[in-house]
């Protein structure tokens, strides 16, 4: 991301700093465009659009193709940029009309899930259309030179980018204050129902907003093209930073997004300018990501609604009223016993490959159950649960690697790693609520990921840590499967027990009605903090087992995709049932394994399946089955 700086080659520090500042400001422009698109969409639709990074990526790819097709030149380049923005906007409209319109009333998590399905679809469509190689962006005609500033040369295009963001800001201001559409958007941001009551056609307002937001993201992708590439990792690469910018700026605030983008640019400059210094043996320029997310954490603790955002009105729950958490009926208990018997007998029946898959499914079932405990019982949404899975895996792997601990001891380090991380991150997270909380969890997961990625001396960086193998007694596939089966069953029973314990009830009380919970002496924030820690502990166990299953750990174990996998498992299974995450883990892992073996374009299929499932079963599979076949007096 950032090249190693060359501060000590005789350049005067001030000039070096200024040129870094301008580079930083230039990079803030694209970030601002994407973030303000996200913030506009969120303001009106209340949907956190994970696919926003995909519009950014598509903007870059489409601009590349359009510029090439138009033959370059001044009109070719700028025409291509405009076309890319329009095309991204239209793709946004298509997504809104075909998918989101059907789920505006679904719980916000399902909307989020659907947008992640779109991320997967777009990834494979882009792979199919533009191939796996990064495409080098064309330069902007007329802006290829550089302006001398002392001994430093500032690219003209950087200067254009620095001026472009305030220009867009000004145009948006005019749009929102001088046009009927803009005024309606602002009104809808404050109170959508009221706007509907005044007879405004909501449908087209929402579609229009999506067009605008997606087009801005596409424009962001297109204008950064001369500075870099069009590549397949752009979408998730930018989305975490975009979340940071939107949340720090305040959801729904365009000016806030601009200020936050500038703030992040300044942090970058600071990190690069102090490249010589180091912290914990990590070069400061390497901890850029950590710094960015740390600033976000601080801003959110001081101003939980962001720099220019509005204080969130306290909402008790997200989406529908939760039906009662019922103990499993007898039939289900027998079914569970039958499944257990099957699992015990599995090594005798299945081949090695199937057994490895089964082991993986068991581990993911525990991982998903730990997230479900936090979300379903505690009502705390985590976008970054993989952090604790990864911390568990690294906790075990580091003990093996650096202290030569045997597997048995290292497996105890795993839950400690997960719980400790969750204890620290959770302290910040539970101070927020709703979308802000969820985005902060994502940010913390990115910090954990960045540390694992950048602290090469300890974590092995991108390569991770290899050679994490089980003790000899558990080295065969059936033996390790047996170990995992026992540990996972014990942990799942523990989670179930806790869900029905006074602590579990107190958590649910805080989820159902924070107001009432507080009025009967329950410290909701503290309960959530403990729940966070417990969920981290269980996720850590799963991560530790996973490390020994794979024989290695890598930063991917803390990445956004794995966090989303866990969310998908929980939501597929249904948030309101304790069996849900298990059903979800089995369905998802089996589906993914099958799709991966079937085609290179498995993401496309998986994305379609996710979107289809969200539209068909907004209650999740297990929730659907329960409502359909075990409906008692659960709904008014």
């Amino acid at each position: 991301m950032t090249a190693a700086p060359t501060a000590d080659n005789g350049t005067p520090p001030l000039e070096f700093f200024l040129s870094q500042l301008l580079t930083g400001l230039a990079s803030a422009s694209a970030l601002f465009l994407v973030a303000c698109g996200l913030t506009i969409i969120f303001g009106v639709t209340r949907i956190v659009n994970f696919a926003h990074g995909s519009f950014y990526m598509l903007g870059a790819y489409i601009a590349y193709s359009a510029i090439t097709a138009l033959g370059g030149g001044f009109f070719g380049f700028w025409g291509g940029v405009i076309l890319a923005a329009l095309a991204a906007g239209l793709i946004g409209v298509a997504m809104e009309m075909t998918i989101l319109r059907r789920i505006y009333h679904a719980p916000e998590l399902f909307q989020l899930l659907a947008t992640f399905g779109v991320v997967l679809i777009v990834q494979d469509v882009a792979l199919y259309l533009w191939g796996p190689e990064d495409l080098l962006g064309p330069r902007a005609p007329g802006l290829t030179g550089a302006v001398a500033m002392g001994s430093q040369r500032i690219p003209e295009y950087d200067i254009f980018l620095i001026l472009f963001a305030p220009l867009v800001l000004g145009v948006l201001w005019l749009l929102f204050h001088r046009t009927r559409f803009g005024i309606l958007v602002r009104a809808a941001t404050q109170d959508r129902q009221m706007v509907a009551a005044l007879g405004v056609n909501q449908k087209w307002l929402l579609t229009g907003v999506f067009f605008l937001g997606a087009a801005l993201a596409g424009l962001g992708g297109a204008i950064q093209l001369p500075k870099g590439n069009a590549g397949l990792t752009m979408d998730l690469g930018i989305i975490a930073e975009v979340f940071v910018v939107t949340v720090v700026g305040g959801m729904g605030s365009i000016l806030g997004a601009y200020l936050a983008a500038l703030l992040i640019a300044l942090i970058r400059v600071f990190a690069v300018a102090n490249a010589g210094s180091s912290l914990l043996g990590i070069q400061l320029w390497q901890v850029e990501l950590v710094l960015i997310f740390a600033v976000m954490a601080v801003v959110l603790v001081v101003r939980p609604w962001g720099l220019l955002g509005k204080r969130e009105t306290l909402t008790g729950h997200h989406g529908a009223v939760e039906p009662p958490l019922l103990a499993a009926p007898a039939a289900l208990k027998w079914f569970a016993l039958a499944v257990l018997a099957l699992l015990v007998a599995l090594p005798g029946m299945a081949g090695t490959y199937s057994l490895v898959i089964a082991t993986e499914i068991l581990i993911f079932a525990l991982f998903a159950a730990s997230l479900h405990f936090l979300m379903g019982v505690g009502g705390v949404i985590s976008f970054g649960h993989a952090a604790y899975f990864g911390l568990g895996a690294y906790g075990a792997a580091l003990m093996v690697k650096h202290f030569a601990w045997p597997m048995e001891a290292a497996l105890f380090a795993a839950p400690l790693g997960g719980a400790l991380g969750a204890l620290i991150f959770g302290w910040f997270c539970v101070r927020l609520s709703g979308v802000y909380l969820a985005m902060l969890t994502l940010a913390f997961a990115q910090i954990a990921w960045a540390v694992a990625f950048q602290w090469i001396d300890v974590t092995g960086g991108d390569n991770g840590i290899l050679g994490i193998w089980p003790s000899s007694w558990a080295a065969t596939t059936p033996a390790f499967y047996g170990l995992v089966l026992v540990v996972v069953i014990v942990m799942l029973l523990a989670i179930r027990r806790i869900a029905f314990s006074p602590f579990g009830y107190a958590l649910r009380a805080g989820r159902d009605s924070p107001l009432r919970a507080d009025a009967i002496g329950i410290d909701v924030r503290r309960m959530r903090w403990f729940a966070f820690t417990l969920a981290g502990l269980f996720a850590g166990v799963a991560g530790g087992l996973f490390a020994f299953l794979k024989g290695s750990v890598s930063p991917d174990l803390m990445g956004i995709p794995l966090s989303v996998d866990a969310l998908v498992m929980v939501l597929l299974g249904g948030v309101q049932t304790l069996a849900g995450p298990l059903v979800g883990a089995v369905t998802f892992t089996a589906l993914k394994t099958e799709l991966v073996s079937l085609t290179n374009y498995w993401r496309l299929l998986l994305g379609l399946v996710i979107v289809g499932l969200v539209i068909a079963f907004p209650q999740g599979i297990a929730g659907f089955v329960r409502d359909r076949f075990m409906a008692k007096e659960t709904r008014a």
Binding site: I498, F500, R508, D518, G521
Partner: protein, 255 residues
């Protein structure tokens, strides 16, 4: 008789608006005090300060001699204050009995117990409370499906779970049918008299107020307008003006 609740010089402003200014009153043990006033009089602001949701700008709120102004709601509850809300707040994913058990678990400081079976704790106590409010037959129904009047009864049982010295009831009969209102207030009055609990309640329904309040406290524009027995308040000319309206009310409106 020593005061259970003693409020002195309570004030709260929002921006430039004085929602409550210099309000003082006290509440004796076993007394039912009604807080009434037209919309915007400052009743809810007053209540929210007593309940710990708002921190007063000035003034003290003494519960049995101890200042509780600015304490978190959960701490105020621990000191023996039960409360019901204008719009009922119950745990929709739990049964009626579990709602009461939840309050009992909290009262007995069992919230961090990780492995006990919550559903089997304090069943007898919970059922006794539900019998008291006439909800024992519906103990196993989920709170999410109850009629509104029944939810109000559940709230009352929950509010009684920590043996409170004081009950704060924000519009206890709002949203109920007239006949239900009277029944609920009669029930409340009977229970608190039996147990010697003091009650402070706000109410719009004057029938309820005059039938059950020992004393009435009238707020208007954030200030105390009148105070006294139901008869005294009924006869108070200022109160009549405020409620029935008169030209005079608007003439001195710019204070």
């Amino acid at each position: 008789m020593s005061a259970v609740l003693e409020v002195a010089g309570l004030s709260k402003s929002f921006g430039g608006v004085k929602a409550v200014s210099d309000v003082s009153f006290s509440l004796a043990a076993g007394e039912l005090l009604a807080l009434i006033g037209p919309n915007g009089a400052g009743k809810t602001t007053c209540f929210n300060m007593l309940m710990g949701q708002l921190r007063p700008d000035t003034g003290t709120i003494k519960l049995a001699g101890r200042d509780i102004a600015g304490l978190a709601p959960r701490r105020i509850w621990r000191l023996g204050v039960g409360r019901t809300f204008q719009i009922t707040a119950t745990f929709a994913s739990m049964s009626v009995r579990e709602n009461v058990q939840m309050a009992l678990l909290s009262h007995h400081r069992r919230l961090l117990s990780l492995f006990a079976d919550a559903g089997s704790q304090y069943i007898d106590d919970a059922m006794a409370l539900l019998t008291l409010v006439g909800m024992e037959a519906q103990a196993e129904r989920p709170c999410g499906v109850l009629a509104y009047g029944d939810l109000k009864r559940v709230e009352l049982a929950v509010a009684l779970a920590n043996n409170p010295k004081l009950l704060l009831m924000d519009e206890p009969t709002a949203g109920m049918a007239p006949r239900e209102r009277i029944a609920l207030m009669e029930l409340t009055a009977r229970i608190v008299k039996e147990r010697g609990i003091s009650v402070l309640f706000t109410e719009h329904d004057m029938d309820v107020v005059f039938a059950h309040a020992d004393r009435i406290f009238v707020l208007n524009r954030g200030r105390l307008l009148a105070e006294g027995t139901p008869q005294q308040v009924r006869d108070n000319a200022l109160v009549q003006e405020t409620y029935l309206g008169s030209g005079a009310m608007f003439a001195d409106g710019g204070q």
